[in-house]
């Protein structure tokens, strides 16, 4: 008889969540840095 | 033009003489090594772990850490004295400069290791006897590896703000392959195993040394020249 398939779905969820957090987190960090730069550039132009 | 090898030896001699006069790098490293050995002694339960099992690892971790202390101090002292700048102005081939620094650093670290070894034998009750020549050989090989990469990295680290942190962060990954090999050879030497069991590791060490001494020699100019 084949051994039963283990029930380990919570690991799957944990891994997928963490990967999503890291990757989207990095995208957001890049985006925020870009926004900050754009604001200071247009800010410099106004002076 | 003077032979680059003689130049290197001259540079090394100058550094060694300077160090012998002030002794700062040597003293800090020796005290550090002794302290590390003491800490290791309290870090294990002697009833559970036999000294001989742990001995090679303890010895090599101590050597690795002491080497870093010595390397850091050596370059910092020199930086403070702006001695390097004078040398750089002269038309000294950078490879010779690297070789000179390497030899001087090897002398410092080698001295620390030679003094640490009897301390180690004393604290851990390990008798080296027949293993001694082999041990000296593997120590030389591994140390050349550490110090080659350590010399170029300490030249870089000294130009940064957090030199004492920068050197370990950069250097430790590079110390791992020679460390693994050195520990393997040392444990076999202490267990009196035949040379055939160590050959692969010794070849790895030799290859590492050849590759990294050459590379660091070639890259040294990129570090010290503007």
């Amino acid at each position: 008889m084949l051994p039963e398939t283990p029930r380990n779905g919570e690991y799957l969820v944990a891994a997928y969540v963490i990967a999503t957090v890291i990757l989207t987190g990095y995208w957001v960090a890049l985006w925020r840095r870009a926004k900050r730069v754009m604001k200071s550039v247009t800010g410099e132009e106004k002076t | 033009m003077p032979d680059p090898l003689r130049l290197a030896l001259a540079i090394a001699a100058k550094d060694i003489r300077a160090e012998l006069r002030s002794r700062t790098a040597l003293q800090s490293a020796l005290v550090f090594a002794a302290l590390v050995l003491v800490v290791f002694n309290f870090a294990r339960d002697p009833t559970v772990l036999a000294a001989t099992d742990l001995a090679p690892s303890v010895l090599w971790v101590t050597f690795a850490l002491a080497a870093m202390v010595a390397l850091n101090r050596a370059f910092t002292v020199e930086r403070e004295n702006a001695a390097l700048d004078g040398l750089l102005l002269a038309p000294v081939p950078r490879e010779a400069l690297f070789l000179g620094k390497l030899l001087a650093n090897l002398a410092f670290v080698g001295t620390v290791e030679l003094v640490t070894l009897p301390l180690f034998m004393l604290f851990f009750n390990v008798s080296l006897g027949r293993a001694l020549p082999g041990l000296l050989g593997v120590t030389a090989l591994a140390t050349i590896g550490f110090v080659a990469v350590g010399t170029i990295f300490s030249a870089m680290a000294v130009r940064t703000r957090f030199a004492e942190l920068m050197l370990p962060v950069l250097l430790l990954p590079f110390m791992v392959p020679p460390l693994i090999a050195a520990v393997q050879v040392t444990s076999r030497l202490l267990a009196d195993r035949p040379l055939s069991e160590m050959w692969g590791w010794l070849r790895l060490l030799a290859l590492y040394d050849i590759v990294f001494v050459t590379l660091c020699m070639m890259a040294f100019s990129a570090v010290v020249d503007e």
């Binding site: 398939t5 890291i22 | 870089m156 590759v211």
Partner: protein, 233 residues
């Protein structure tokens, strides 16, 4: 806004858009992994972490190799674009390494019963991570751009050459000290759904890598363009 600055901003935008598309595509990969692929009988649901972990490792390794190659080329050609690219690739590589180093143990625990083992692959991935960190730490600690470029290039090249030695020593170590046999993460022959999903995921991760590196490269270029504009003013 100077022309150089406008161009740099354009690059950042392109990078952000590309990686945003990549993130959406990643959602598609999740769907594939969760619905389309079969559940592996021996490993259960946790096996599906494979579709994230392997492509992340591939991207991290790609990033790392490119840092090494760009470093070598920089020391030869002295083109600042190569240095900028190496820095971008290193930062993005760290991000993918983080994904790899978190999904790896999360996968290992239910399958191998332990969070970590010192097998050759895992040890190497840890090493690459430390080398990246060292590289980025050095860049942060050196202020003069030319000096920073030269120093990082040296570390990049030395790091790239260290990897085979680490691999060799860990391999030699393991053949002398046989560790408990570890389940191979994939069945000997992958069923087509698994293979397809893996390939799609790898493509998506590569897209993410390209997008992120472009954006990061652009941001560095923007900083430099602003410096120049300020100096010229």
């Amino acid at each position: 806004m100077t022309v150089a600055l406008a161009q740099a901003v354009g690059i950042v935008r392109r990078g952000l858009v590309l990686s945003a598309i990549g993130l959406l595509a990643l959602g598609g990969v999740y769907l594939l992994a969760l619905r389309y692929t079969p559940v592996e009988a021996r490993q259960g649901l946790a096996q599906k972490i494979f579709y994230l972990h392997v492509p992340a490792a591939w991207s991290a390794l790609l990033g790392f190799s490119l840092v090494g190659i760009a470093s070598a080329l920089y020391l030869w050609l002295k083109d600042p674009r190569l240095d900028r690219f190496a820095a971008a690739s290193a930062e993005v590589g760290v991000v993918f390494s983080a994904v790899m180093l978190t999904t790896g143990p999360i996968w290992a625990k239910p399958i191998w019963g332990t969070w970590w083992t010192w097998d050759a692959r895992l040890t190497l991935t840890l090493f690459v991570f430390f080398l990246f960190i060292g590289y980025l730490a050095l860049r942060a600690a050196v202020h003069d751009p030319a000096e920073r470029a030269r120093f990082s290039a040296v570390v990049g090249i030395l790091g790239m050459l260290l990897v085979p030695f680490v691999h060799l020593s860990v391999y030699l170590f393991r053949t002398l000290h046989p560790q408990p046999i570890v389940l191979k993460p994939s069945a000997p022959s992958l069923p087509p759904e698994m293979l397809t999903t893996l390939l799609v995921s790898t493509l998506v991760f590569t897209l993410l890598y390209l997008g992120f590196v472009t954006a990061r490269y652009g941001l560095a270029l923007v900083d430099e363009a602003r410096e120049e504009a300020r100096d010229a003013a």
